[in-house]
């Protein structure tokens, strides 16, 4: 298997292959031989030359992080063969951008209704959770095409709240 892995914004090429019950990896061309066991959901035990690592996967609807010991890394993974990810990444580069709820909450105000021109970083709506208000900002300069959540609506993490083009 071959993956494109982004760790804290830095891109790597990873090849993985089973080898006699172990794994043979090639990370940016460098060979690593390792033993890996999934000990329970989202917890991986990795042994490399006798060194032990516990890696925990933190998943939220909007992103993924991995913990290696006390260090936390933002991770993106792409399978270059996958049609889905190729299509997804292409759409991200240009055109419409989605404003996604980073956490569940309630929409308390829409600051930029449909057809409003917005600057990158300008507030589009305000979502409240746990008595704190969070202004969600436009991911790009453009025009708000659609607002998909009305004032007072309950939203879940990962919900698309507005589209800016």
């Amino acid at each position: 298997m071959t993956y494109e892995v982004t760790i804290d914004g830095k891109s790597h090429r990873l090849e993985l292959e089973r080898a006699d019950g172990l794994w043979q990896c090639r990370l940016d061309g460098r060979q690593i031989r390792l033993d890996a066991v999934l000990t329970r959901r989202d917890v991986l035990s990795v042994l490399i030359d006798g060194k032990a690592y516990e890696v925990k996967r933190e998943r939220t609807p909007t992103d993924m992080h991995l913990w290696v010991g006390a260090e936390r890394f933002a991770v993106e993974l792409r399978d270059p063969r996958s049609l889905r990810s190729r299509k997804g990444s292409a759409a991200d580069e240009r055109g419409a951008k989605k404003l996604v709820a980073p956490m569940p909450g309630r929409v308390v105000r829409v600051l930029a209704p449909a057809q409003t021109e917005v600057e990158a970083g300008q507030g589009v709506m305000v979502v409240e959770a746990m008595k704190m208000q969070n202004e969600l900002k436009s991911p790009k300069k453009g025009v708000v095409q659609k607002v998909l959540a009305a004032e007072g609506a309950a939203v879940n993490a990962g919900d698309v709240l507005a589209i800016v083009e």
């Binding site: 990873l14 990896c25 990370l27 996967r57 933190e58 006390a70 956490m103 990962g158």
Partner: protein, 508 residues
């Protein structure tokens, strides 16, 4: 002793009180709102009753409904926990009027402490120290000069009608006083339409240190040691410890005696906390009294060996304090980390949601007071406090080491938490040296979060692990967003894809 107690609260503190009831052989009664049916406190209690919708004003703050449940269930007493109704004098009185014991101080003591001016008058009479200065507006520049000379520079000028830093001037020396006074007055006039200004000693790098007290209904009152609570963000405490690195036995005794004096002046009963502002030279001044059990009470329990909730219940049932001041002994060091559901990458904004994975720490010197469990959805409607991780050790250094070790074991998946913040604080040399003040955490967070000491190789392990996870435990696309949103076809696609991948693996 009571046979049945209602706990008018939720989350970790409700679980804490339910546990004390179980230990004392008392039947516990939980209450819950629409979004708390599956919460841990409802699972742990002997009885549980519905009290209303998610909004706290209609459930956990609904006095009539809570008293009705108490009557219906036959509870003889109510423990309010902290927050919600815990410092509501009307509620304390309503309990008395319904023939139910309120586990806490009397309504009269609460009201007295709740009124800043009345509390100040009474405490000044009792000889309790306040930040030196004028408690009323300055008449003239001459008066300002005299007061400032008496209390010593630096001093702070503050608008009487003030707030938000307007009309405030820090004055470092007598030469600057006249111009600062004029500037503060005109700014106060412009901002508030009132040019009155008063003067206070400016406390450089203040520390927030509080003293736990406990009084019975027979007139006995003791102090149980201080807690340093200087690690704060947005006036919210984040980490507390006892003893304070600043406080020596003499200062502790002086502070304890003044705290007891405060409590006596208010005819205070049950558990309470007297808050002080302290400078780095160990001068301390009364701020206010918290008339409830505090979030951070476990650190005091660990260093005194006492169970404060047991004692609260015993005192409320009419028992005398079972020990004297001389018998209170402080031993070891304890520290509490408040684990909040908040996102360290997004200005610590609350992050409710479903907990998909929970690995709780344990081992020597570790106490975990939690209100959560794996599979539970943290509701959006309440305070983001999930749990408290409390470390205990022979001394401060050992306690820090144990907490750092426990933080490595601790893991909450599915939602964001502030666990990483505690690694930063506990590893920080200034924190380890005990150089604390209320501005400490803002300064730490202003530094770039770059953990420069991160051993190389961690990111390589992460890169390899990301691929291994993808192969061994692929995430279905439908797990992005909550289950109610993924359409049936998306679920179908993902399980099909998962099967296909697994097959591909076997053949490869």
């Amino acid at each position: 002793m009571f046979k049945k107690i209602l706990i008018a609260n939720r989350g970790e503190i409700a679980v804490r009180v339910i546990r004390a009831c179980r230990e004392l052989g008392i039947t516990s009664v939980a209450v819950y709102s629409d979004v708390d049916r599956a919460s841990l406190h409802v699972r742990k209690a002997d009885e549980a009753y519905y009290i209303g919708p998610a909004a706290a004003s209609e459930s956990y703050l609904n006095i009539a409904e809570i008293l009705d449940v108490a009557r219906r269930s036959g509870a003889e007493a109510i423990h309010p926990g902290y927050g919600f109704l815990s410092e509501n004098a009307k509620f304390a009185q309503a309990c008395v009027d319904s023939g139910i014991k309120f586990i806490g101080p009397t309504a009269a003591a609460m009201e007295m402490m709740g009124s800043k001016t009345r509390a100040r008058q009474r405490m000044e009479q009792a000889g309790v120290p306040f930040v030196p200065g004028t408690s009323r507006a300055l008449e003239s520049f001459d008066e300002a000069e005299q007061v400032a000379a008496r209390i010593g520079y630096p001093v702070m000028l503050k608008a009487a009608a003030g707030g938000g830093g307007k009309g405030m001037r820090l004055v470092g020396s007598p030469d600057d006083l006249e111009s600062a006074l004029e500037a503060a007055r005109s700014e106060a006039q412009r901002s508030f339409g009132d040019s009155e200004v008063y003067l206070e000693k400016y406390i450089v790098n203040p520390r927030h240190i509080e003293m736990q007290i406990l009084g019975d209904e027979q007139g006995n009152c003791v102090w149980l040691g201080e807690r340093e609570c200087s690690i704060q963000r947005r006036h919210q405490k984040v980490l507390e410890e006892s003893p304070s690195p600043l406080v020596d036995p003499d200062m502790r005794r002086r502070m304890g005696e003044i705290a007891v004096r405060v409590a006596r002046a208010a005819d205070y009963t049950n558990a309470g906390t007297v808050e002080f502002l302290s400078d780095q030279e160990k001068n301390f001044y009364f701020l206010e009294m918290n008339t409830r059990l505090q979030v951070e009470h476990p650190v005091t329990e660990l260093i005194t060996g006492l169970d404060l909730v047991h004692l609260q219940i015993r005192i409320a049932s009419g028992e005398k304090l079972p020990f004297t001041q001389e018998q209170v002994q402080i031993r070891g060091h304890a520290m509490e980390c408040r684990i909040y559901a908040e996102d360290p990458d997004n200005h610590y904004f609350p992050s409710p949601g479903k907990i998909t994975l929970l690995l709780a720490p344990s081992g020597p010197g570790i106490r975990h007071d939690s209100g959560i469990y794996e599979g539970w959805t943290v509701p959006i409607d309440y305070d983001p406090l999930l749990a408290k991780l409390i470390g205990y050790g022979t001394d401060r250094k050992q306690t820090i080491g144990r907490l750092l070790r426990a933080l490595n074991e601790y893991f909450v998946g599915g939602i964001k938490t502030n666990l990483s913040l505690f690694r930063r604080i506990l590893n920080d040399p200034d924190f380890q040296a005990g150089n604390l003040d209320t501005g400490y955490l803002d300064r730490l967070l202003a530094l770039s979060a770059g953990t420069a000491s991160a051993p190389a190789g961690g990111s390589e392990i992460a890169a390899v692990a990301a691929g291994l996870f993808a192969v061994l435990e692929p995430i279905a696309p439908s797990s992005h967003g909550t289950s109610s949103h993924g359409g049936g076809d998306r679920n179908g696609t993902s399980s099909w894809k998962r099967t296909a991948r697994a097959e591909g693996l076997r053949s490869g």
